[in-house]
Amino acid sequence: MSVAAAFELPGVADLVRTFRRVQGEIHKAIIGNERAVEELLIALFAGGHVLIEGVPGTGKTTLVKTMGHALNLSFNRIQFTVDLMPADITGTRVIVAGDDGRREFAFQPGPVFCHILLGDEINRATPKTQSALLEAMAELQVTVGGATYPIRPPYFTMATLNPIEMEGTYALPEAQLDRFMFKVSLDYPDESGLTRIISTTTGAASEAIAPVFPADEAAARIEALKRLVREVMVAPAVEQFVARLVRATQPSNAAFMGGRKGPVQNDAVDRYVTFGSSPRGAQALILGAKVGALLDGRANVSLDDVERIAPAALTHRIMLNYAAHADGIEANHIIQGVIKSVRAARG
C-alpha cells in the first residue's frame, strides 16, 4: 500500500512534469523499453552517465539522439572504432594563425565538449581511448597538453555496447565501468512492439520531437532540477540499508577488504562474485533513489526507491567469476539475492 502525495512544491512538480514530457517525447521514437527510458532520465537528473547495452537495431543510438533533441541540449556523437585516438575525443592543440599573422598553438575542443555525448559502441575502441572519457565523466573537465578545460554542465555521457558481437572489441576497464551510474539494457522488442516500430518508422512522415526547454535555458533548467534532486532527504536507516546492500555485494573473501566481513553474507556472492560494487555504487543508488522519490511526489527516499534502482546501479559494478559464467548466473540474479538477504537481515 502506498499513499499518494497530497501536497505539491513547485520545484517537485516541475521536475515531475519535465521528466514525463521528456519521457513522452522519447517514446515517440522509441517503442517499448519504458523501464530503460525511465532509468536513462533518472541518471540524467541525478547527474550520472549511462551505459546502454543492447543488440543491434534495438534503438540505442536513436534513444540517445531523441533525448538530446527533447532536452534541446548540445549533442555529439562519437563512433568508437579501434583506430580512434584519445585526442579525437578530448580535442587537441593545433597551430592556428592569429589576427596579427603569428601562428600559435590553440586548443581545438573535441566532441566531448557538449551536453550530451553519445559514445557509440564504446567497446570497439582501445582501452587507452576509452579512458579518455574518464576525466570528462568524473570531473567534467579535460586536460590536454598540461591545460585543463572545463566542460559546461550539464554533461551527460551515454555509451552503447553491443553484447553479442565481441570480436575486435575491448572490454571496458573496471574503472571506466564504475564511472557509469547505470547500465541500462534495451530489450529486443516483442511482436506487438516490433509491429509498432515498423509502422512508425517506415512511413513517409515521422513524428517530430518537440523540445521540452528553450535552447537558451535548457542547461540552466536541468541544472536547477539536478540541484533539487540533491535536496531530497535520506533517513539514516535508508543510508544504512544502502551501505549494507553495497557491502553485501562483496564476497567475504574479497581482496582489499582487510578481512572484514559485512553484516550480511550471501552464498551466491561468495561463490560467483570476484569483486563487488565500489562506493560509487552506493552513491548511484542514493542519487537514483532521490530522483525516484521526487517522481513519486516525495521529498524523502524510501527503501522501495533504493530497491527499484538497485539492478541498474549495481549490475555493471559486480565482477563475476568463471563459475558464474559456467553456471549461467547473471549479475542481476546476484543483485536480487543480495536485496533479499539485506531485507531479511533488516527484519
Partner: protein, 438 residues
C-alpha cells in the same frame, strides 16, 4: 531564508507529527509489554500446573526429573519471552518505521523523525516533507498502524489458565480423598521378633513411624544396625545421592499435594520375647545383609495377651528412608527368608514375604487374649499384598507378578471388617486349640 513565522509553523507541524508517532510508539510498547507479561505468566502458570500434576501422578524421582526439566525450560522460556518483548519495544525511530511500513507512507515518518533533531540535514525540501506528511496524518493514527489493543498472547495465557484450573480441581479432589483416607488410618502393632528389615522399595513412598517399649526399640536398633552395616557395604555414593534426591522430591511432593507420605503408617513395636537376645540372634539369621527399611510382617497378630500398646510405648522413631537402596532381588531375599526362618516356614506362603495381615492370628500360643475393639478403621484401611509366586519356582524365572489394584466395591459388597479379638470361653479353649494344633 525562511522567516521566523515559517520556522515556527514548521516546528508546530513537526510537533504534531512527532506527537502522532509518540502515540503509535505508546501503543506498540503497550502491546510489547502485554506480550512479555502474558507470555511470562503463561509459562509460569503452565509450568506450575504441569509440575502440580506431576506431583500427584509421578514417583518422587521421576517427579524430580520432570520438575528440574520444566524449571529449566521455564527459566529459558522466561528469558526468551522477556527478550522478545524487549526486542518488540519501539523507540520513536522504530515506531516511525513500523508506521511507514504498515501504512504505506514510504519512509516519510522515518525521515521526519530521524532528521527532526538536525536542522542542518533538513534542506529546502524539509517544509515540503512536513506538509506532505502532515496531510497524511490520518494514515498513521495509532489505530490504523496497530489495530489491536490487547496482545494476542492473552489467548495463550487463557489456555494455560484453563489448564491450571483443571489441575487445581484435580489436586483439590485428590487432597480430599487423601484427607479422608488419612483420617481412617490407625496404628499397627507388630512383634519386633517378627520384624523383617529389608531394603525399601525405592518407588514406594510409604514410610513408617515406629514406637514401642525399650526392649523392642533396642532390638529394632540392633536390626537396623545390622541392616545399616550391610547397607554400608553395598551402598554407593550414587545410591546415597539418589536417596537424598528421592527424599527431597518426596518432601516437595508432600508439600504440593498436602500428603504426608512419611507418616502414613504408625507402627507400634512389641517384644514378645521380653528382651531375650536369643530371638535377636535368630532374627539376624534371616535378615538380609542388604536390608534397610522396616517392613512389617504379620502386622497386628501374635501380640501377647495383656500387652498394652499405650503402656509400652516409651520411644518412637521414624524409619522412613533408613536404608532405601535395594540390594539383592526381592525374590531371592524372600527365598532366603523362607529357608532360614523356621517360624516363617510353618506359617503359610505369605508370611515369608512381608505381607500384612490383621485380625485373629494363627499362632496357637497366642490364640486367646482379651477382647478388643477393631484396631483398624473399616473404610480407609489399605492392604498391601506382595504376592511373589516366583518364590516357589526355579530361581531366575520371572513369574507373573499381579499388579496392585484398588477396585471400588459394588453395592452388594461391604468394606473389609477386621475380626475383633473376643474372649473365648474357658470350656471352648481346649477345643479351639486342638483345631489349630491340627
Amino acid at each position: 531564508m525562511p522567516s521566523a513565522s515559517q520556522v515556527r509553523r514548521g516546528e508546530e507541524k513537526l510537533g504534531v507529527i512527532l506527537r502522532g508517532v509518540v502515540l503509535v510508539r505508546t501503543r506498540l510498547n503497550r502491546l510489547a509489554l502485554q506480550q512479555g507479561l502474558f507470555e511470562s505468566l503463561s509459562l509460569i502458570v503452565g509450568t506450575g500446573a504441569i509440575v502440580l500434576l506431576a506431583a500427584f501422578l509421578l514417583q518422587p524421582l521421576k517427579f524430580l526429573c520432570v520438575a528440574i526439566v520444566l524449571g529449566a525450560a521455564l527459566m529459558v522460556g522466561l528469558v526468551r519471552a522477556i527478550r522478545r518483548s524487549s526486542r518488540m519495544r519501539a523507540t520513536l525511530d522504530r515506531a516511525a518505521a513500523i508506521a511507514d511500513q504498515r501504512t504505506g507512507l514510504k519512509g516519510r515518518l522515518t525521515t521526519v523523525v530521524s532528521l527532526a533533531p538536525y536542522a542542518t540535514g533538513r534542506g529546502q525540501l524539509w517544509p515540503y516533507l512536513l506538509e506532505d506528511t502532515l496531510s497524511l496524518r490520518e494514515e498513521f493514527a495509532p489505530a490504523k498502524v496497530e489495530p489491536r489493543r490487547i496482545s494476542r498472547s492473552i489467548y495463550g495465557l487463557l489456555a494455560y489458565s484453563l489448564l491450571a484450573i483443571l489441575v487445581a480441581g484435580f489436586a483439590l479432589m485428590e487432597r480430599r480423598v487423601q484427607t479422608a483416607s488419612k483420617a481412617a488410618q490407625a496404628d499397627l502393632e507388630v512383634d519386633v521378633n517378627n520384624l523383617d528389615v529389608r531394603p525399601l522399595d525405592p518407588d514406594l513412598s510409604t514410610a513408617v513411624e515406629v514406637s514401642g517399649d525399650p526392649s523392642a526399640m533396642r532390638k529394632l536398633d540392633q536390626k537396623l544396625a545390622r541392616a545399616g552395616q550391610a547397607q554400608g557395604e553395598s551402598n554407593s555414593a550414587l545410591g546415597r545421592l539418589m536417596g537424598r534426591a528421592r527424599d527431597l522430591a518426596g518432601d516437595i511432593q508432600d508439600k504440593m499435594t498436602g500428603h504426608d507420605s512419611r507418616l502414613r503408617l504408625r507402627l507400634r513395636l512389641t517384644d514378645s520375647s521380653g528382651g531375650n537376645s536369643g530371638d535377636d540372634a535368630a532374627d539376624s539369621s534371616h535378615t538380609p545383609p542388604d536390608g534397610g527399611a522396616a517392613r512389617s510382617d504379620r502386622v497386628g497378630d501374635n501380640r501377647a495377651p495383656g500387652d498394652s500398646p499405650s503402656s509400652q510405648t516409651t520411644s518412637s522413631r521414624s524409619l522412613a528412608g533408613a536404608a532405601p537402596n535395594p540390594g539383592e532381588p526381592a525374590q531371592d531375599r524372600a527365598a532366603n527368608n523362607l529357608a532360614d526362618d523356621p517360624q516363617a516356614q510353618g506359617e503359610g506362603d505369605e508370611q515369608g514375604t512381608g505381607g500384612s495381615s490383621h485380625g485373629s492370628g494363627s499362632d496357637p500360643e497366642h490364640l486367646f487374649g482379651p477382647a478388643e475393639e477393631p484396631p483398624l478403621g473399616s473404610e480407609g484401611f489399605e492392604i498391601m499384598v506382595e504376592a511373589r509366586p516366583a518364590e516357589r519356582g526355579p530361581r531366575g524365572v520371572q513369574s507373573y507378578l499381579p499388579p496392585r489394584v484398588r477396585a471400588a466395591l459394588n453395592p452388594r459388597q461391604f468394606p473389609d471388617q477386621p475380626i475383633a479379638r473376643s474372649v473365648v470361653p474357658d470350656d471352648d479353649r481346649a477345643e479351639v486349640k486342638r483345631v489349630f494344633d491340627r
